[in-house]
């Protein structure tokens, strides 16, 4: 358990956390402002990845594929909003859950029909595909640093948007009390569409950025969706700051847990059981964390309003 390994693992945790933040940000916005549980947020992440693969195959250029994928994801997201979701805002949470679960089923299977069940992949752009020497003997893939950088960048942009712009002001107000916003005479429907479209793009962006590292396959959004929910619940629903901090927290706890759980257990038990118990505990860690946070703070770390 050397210091340099700890450093690298922290970086890995950061990268995972940033990815979770990109997905959770949209989820917490949609949930916070519209009081809408969108389980289909995960398939929008998956769709981003698939679209990028498709556009890359057509154009051969990562950047162009990225832009096209985001645009296509946005169009698709708005279409979904128009056809289905906007009829669900006034419904109770359970109905939202079941309807968006139906969308997940449909899109997971649809993707399989269109692109096949086999995993696909997206290459890293040539100039960013190498590794750099972080410290003697420790190489680190440039692309992972790019993910960290772009995630932090998006976080900064979001912060500026939310704190400095009129739409951002409305979003904050909406997360605190939606009735006030509509009382201000704002076209709530348009605000919702903007927020929803934005959330969709963020999820798709996460999908595109991670596609070169992970295999692009049907159902890739399901696990991430649950983690994103863990993040926004720990952070406090509707809180962008909460989502950011919780995402990094989850990323670090999960990564560091996986790396060091066994080593730590070996201190107190023989190596063989430690090896099997360790991964189980590591998998559980984030859920334990969530349960603890909610036990002491039943509305998350940064509660936005008393729900």
């Amino acid at each position: 358990m050397s210091l340099s390994l700890l450093f690298v693992q922290t970086l890995n945790g950061l990268q995972f956390g940033v990815l979770l933040f990109l997905i959770a940000a949209g989820l917490t916005l949609v949930f916070g402002v519209m009081d809408f549980i969108n389980l289909a947020h995960g398939v929008q992440y998956m769709l981003g990845a698939y679209l990028a693969v498709m556009f890359y195959a057509l154009t051969g250029n990562f950047l162009v594929a990225l832009v096209l994928a985001l645009a296509a994801a946005l169009v698709f997201g708005l279409l979904l909003e128009f056809v289905v979701f906007r009829h669900l805002y006034e419904r109770d949470h359970l109905e939202q859950v079941i309807a968006t679960f139906g969308i997940i089923m449909f899109l997971n299977q649809g993707v399989k029909v269109v692109w096949g069940a086999a995993p696909l992949s997206l290459p890293i752009p040539e100039m960013l595909s190498g590794t750099i020497v972080l410290m003697p003997g420790i190489l680190y893939p440039v692309w992972r640093l790019v993910i960290i950088g772009s995630g932090l960048g998006v976080g900064l942009i979001l912060y500026l948007l939310v704190t400095q712009t009129r739409v951002g002001m409305l979003v904050r107000a909406g997360a605190t009390n939606a009735r006030i916003v509509s009382a201000l005479g704002v076209d709530i429907r348009r605000l919702f569409m903007i927020v929803f479209g934005f959330g969709t793009m963020l999820a798709a962006f996460a999908g595109v950025m991670i596609a070169p590292i992970l295999s692009v396959e049907p159902g890739m959004g399901d696990g991430v969706l649950i983690l994103a929910f863990v993040v926004i619940v720990i952070g406090g629903i509707g809180s962008m700051r909460g989502a950011f901090i919780a995402a990094l927290l989850i990323g670090l706890v999960d990564t560091l847990g996986r790396s060091f759980a066994i080593d730590i257990l070996r201190l107190v038990m023989p190596p063989s059981p430690a090896r099997t118990v360790g991964p189980a505990i590591a998998s559980m860690l984030i859920y334990v964390l969530m349960a603890l946070v909610l036990y002491f703070r039943p509305a998350g770390l940064f509660p936005v309003r008393g729900r």
Partner: protein
């Protein structure tokens, strides 16, 4: 009068003949067609369908009706579907499944129901050993064997230090146990990751820090795709030899592509295995499904050949199970892998190879035979099997 009689006899004979010909041979398939693992399940189904198509829709002279069920990778769903095959469809054979946990779940309902279960992939150690079953045949391998191939290879190549990793589930533990059975050098570390883990950054950092001669991993499906890409991205591919089982094969290579070039696996077959029947199979499969077949497809193709050969020997009779089993035991078919026979536990005795990922002229990727590691290799569990 005589003429009339003659024609009616002929007509009756014709009718009987038709009735016999019309009674179709029903084969049930339990395979995974939902979720990411569907790619393996589809290969299984495709292999069977191809074999049946190549023999004009007939096996052992009987018209075949294939009934495909998706187990959704849920044991209780699989059991329900298996019962449906046995009871509703009255199938004579069930071919499947892909995953060991599904095999364990459907074993009892299928074999108790009187059908013969042929596994074209999963081959757990319990069914090879003390729980072996007269109505259960395996056309793949015993689960440990491909891992043992790699262990033997690492040992023979004189490797000093190997980092080994597998998912934290029974097959994962069997895998590393299989590798360690033959590799006696130092283990840099033995790591179990949660099943379905996607990001290996933590483990890759550990590998880089340990700088072993080789890694051995068992990461099937999407896990392998991710690991291989990330392994390459981390710049480890040039420094550390990549040994694996079920991690780089034709089901994952379309996504891994160049990232897997030169990586090793252990297998009982490869698409370039040099014999005429295999050449035809690979060509047919690629033509039919526009993809390179993997072991799952070839093993289920062999399962169909096994049924075909056995039924030819029993003249299409499936009612006499003893005769049918005896016929199957003789393995009366020309396997795509060449030499093949059944051990007493109904698991194969066969050759195993070290295979290597290579790019083909047409831009696709496949594994190719690098070296034969075991000849006529039988699994060690057979001695615990009461069947003789």
């Amino acid at each position: 009068m005589v003429k009339v009689l003659m024609t009616s006899v002929a007509a009756v004979a014709l009718l009987i003949g038709q009735a016999q010909a019309q009674e179709k041979l029903k084969i049930g398939v339990v395979t995974t067609l939902s979720g990411p693992a569907a790619v393996l399940g589809q290969q299984l189904r495709n292999g069977l369908q191809l074999a049946i198509k190549n023999s004009d829709g007939k096996l052992g002279g009987r018209e075949v009706q294939l009934i495909v069920e998706d187990d959704e990778l849920k044991p209780d769903v699989a059991v329900s579907k298996a019962k449906a095959l046995i009871d509703r469809d009255k199938v004579d054979f069930v071919v499947g499944p892909i995953f060991s946990n599904i095999l364990v779940a459907i074993m009892k309902p299928v074999t108790d129901g009187g059908a013969i279960l042929i596994s074209p992939n999963a081959g757990t150690s319990n069914f090879a050993g003390k729980d072996c079953n007269a109505n259960f045949f395996v056309t793949s391998y015993q689960n440990d064997q491909n891992h043992e191939v790699m262990g033997k290879y690492a040992q023979d190549a004189g490797m000093k230090k190997v980092f080994i990793m597998a998912p934290n589930y029974p097959a994962g533990k069997d895998s590393l146990a299989g590798f360690k059975r033959f590799f006696k050098g130092e283990l840099a570390d033995e790591v179990y990751v949660p099943l379905g883990q996607l990001d290996y950054s933590a483990e890759l950092s550990k590998i880089a820090a340990a700088s072993p001669d080789a890694v051995f991993v068992f990461l099937p499906g999407g896990m392998g795709v991710n690991f291989v890409k990330q392994f390459r991205q981390a710049g480890l591919a040039d420094k550390v030899k990549f040994l694996s089982a079920f991690t780089v094969d034709e089901s994952t290579l379309p996504a891994q592509k160049e990232a897997a070039l030169g990586f090793f696996g252990g297998a009982n077959w490869a698409p370039n295995l040099d014999n005429p029947q295999n050449k035809k199979f690979v060509a047919d499969y690629e033509k039919e499904y526009n993809a390179v077949p993997a072991t799952y497809a070839f093993q289920s193709y062999d399962a169909a050949l096994l049924i075909d050969g056995a039924l030819k020997a029993t003249k299409g009779n499936t009612a006499d199970k003893d005769a049918l089993r005896a016929a199957m035991m003789k393995a009366p078919f020309t396997s795509l892998r060449g030499a093949f026979k059944f051990n007493t536990n109904h698991y194969p005795i066969q050759d195993f190879y070290q295979v290597k990922v290579a790019a083909r002229a047409d831009g696709k990727f496949q594994t190719e035979i690098d070296k034969k590691v075991f000849a006529n290799y039988a699994d060690p569990y057979a001695k615990d099997c009461p069947m003789k």
